[in-house]
Structure formats: C-alpha cells, structure tokens
Assembly symmetry: C2
Amino acid sequence: MKQRVSTRFSMAIHILSMIAVKHTEQTGDEIARSVNNNPVVIRRVIGMLKRAGIMDVRAGVGGAFLLKTPEEITLLEIYRAVNEIEENDLYAFRIHEDSNVGCPVGRNIESVLHSEFAKAQAAMENQLGSTTLSQLIPRFI
Amino acid sequence: MKQRVSTRFSMAIHILSMIAVKHTEQTGDEIARSVNNNPVVIRRVIGMLKRAGIMDVRAGVGGAFLLKTPEEITLLEIYRAVNEIEENDLYAFRIHEDSNVGCPVGRNIESVLHSEFAKAQAAMENQLGSTTLSQLIPRFI
DNA sequence: CACCGTTGAAACGTTAATCGTTATAACAAT
DNA sequence: ATTGTTATAACGATTAACGTTTCAACGGTG
C-alpha cells in the first residue's frame, strides 16, 4: 500500500457528507462505522476540520454540525484543511535545493520549476475549488 | 523537511535540461555537481528516465542523450516516468477503503470520490502535458 | 448529584517511502 | 592494462501515515 498520499482528504469528505446527509446518528462512533475505521482516526480528521472552521462539535452526544452550508464548502477548502496547507503553498510538488549556481541550469532551475509547478497545482486547485459538498450530496442515496 | 513528495521530478527536469542545453561535460558526476547531490541519486533518476524511453546512456564517458527532441518531451511524461505512474492511475489522491455499504454514504463514497479526484488530477496533468522541455530551455541562460 | 456515553488528546508501534551513502561489478576509451 | 564512467545492490536514517490503547474532560439523563 502506497502511503505517500494520505487518505485524510477522502475520509474528511466522507465525514462531512455524513453530517450533511444525516441518515444516521451523528456520533463519532457511528461515522467511524460508516468509514470503517477506528473512532480515534475519525476524531483526528474532525479535529483538523474544526481547526479550519468548517465544522464544530458540541461536547456531548452526537453534536457535530457544519459551520457553513454545503453550498459554501468546496473540496479545495477540505483538502487544505486536512493537509494543513496555506494559500500559495507549493504542496503537490517539491523542488530539490541548493543547486549549483555556477551552472546556468542550476542557477535558474528553482525559479523555472516554481512557476511551472505552481501552474500545475493551480489547475488542480481550481478544479477542487469549483466543486462543493452540496454537489456530492445527491449522489448519496 | 517534508518528504511525502519526492524531489525526483524536480531533479529529472534538471537532468534533462542539462542534457538538452549541453553547457558542460555530460557525465553523471558533472550533472550531480549541478544538482548538488550524490551521483548515485542522479543515476537512480536517470535509470527511471531510461526505462521510460525518454533518454539513454551509452556506457562510457558522458554518453547521455535524449531519445526525443525537447519539443516532444512534456513535463507530464517526465512526471509519470519518475513516479512510475500508469495512465488512468489515480496517483495524486487516495481513497480510504472498505467503507460500510450498509450506509448510503459509505456505499457510494468510492465512486463519487473517484470521479471527483480524477477530474482534479486530470486538470493538473493537462497543465503538465501542455508544457515541453523546449519551453524551459530558453530560461537557462 | 452520579452515571454513562461521547469527545479530545497524548503516546506508542508498525509500515512504507525518500534519500544519502558505501561498495562492487561491468564497461569504454586510451 | 589502467583509468574514469556507468549500473546496481544494500544499508541506515528520517519522516509521514495510521491503527491502537489509554486516560481525562464534558454533557445529558436519570
């Protein structure tokens, strides 16, 4: 199993969908049962979503709720929340450092790559940003 | 230092640019000097680029050469080479598995996420695929 | 107020990938 | 044959993901 990418994003969408759809009890254990994972893992993701201001939980029984409407929550917002990404953070790519400035390629590679990678990441983010949680809900029948 | 993403892609573009530009000797050691890294790491990346049919190396002194023109080599092709990605491989995202099919969300989450993630990844790949090595070369002055 | 289920968070171990390094073998040019 | 280059295996350190156990804090209900 490749672990270089987290499943937190995937689980976060699952969790928020559960809350938005409200088919069942909304306890962490019930959500964990749907995701089929340990409740602590679910709470970890919920913690990140809370910190990002997407949802909150009233201590006590099943007190999870969204802080925005599903129309306002984009996948990009969720993606950034669970990966702790700031805006303008080149997250999807990494550039090797300390290239030799004595070489024309080494001297310019970082700025060239930064602009190219930023364009590729922006393309992905634009797509994620154009989809809202509300667009997914009808598909959970 | 975050290691969840490899710098191989970044180094691969550096390596191929060196070969395309030919400012210096083309030995692995000389490339390693520009990238400022261990020659073995460079050869590892070169090995992946060879396997992908992008370049080849004649054993002996500095025998590295491209198998296509810089106009034909896209960043997407390089990206796939160094990450060993097949077409239609959902690489940039991962979906948690074994969701509970007894729950409407759990039952549908995988197909919903797969189509959404595929769109986001395709957006990124379209951008990478629209840029060629030749477009970068003029910037290495 | 006491109890019980829920939430929150720390801590630990396992697994997997990155990546720098050393060592060794094979090969080409001179 | 010698020398420099390439190819590859192997090792260890580092880091992130993630499942699990454990315990403290809190709310609602009786």
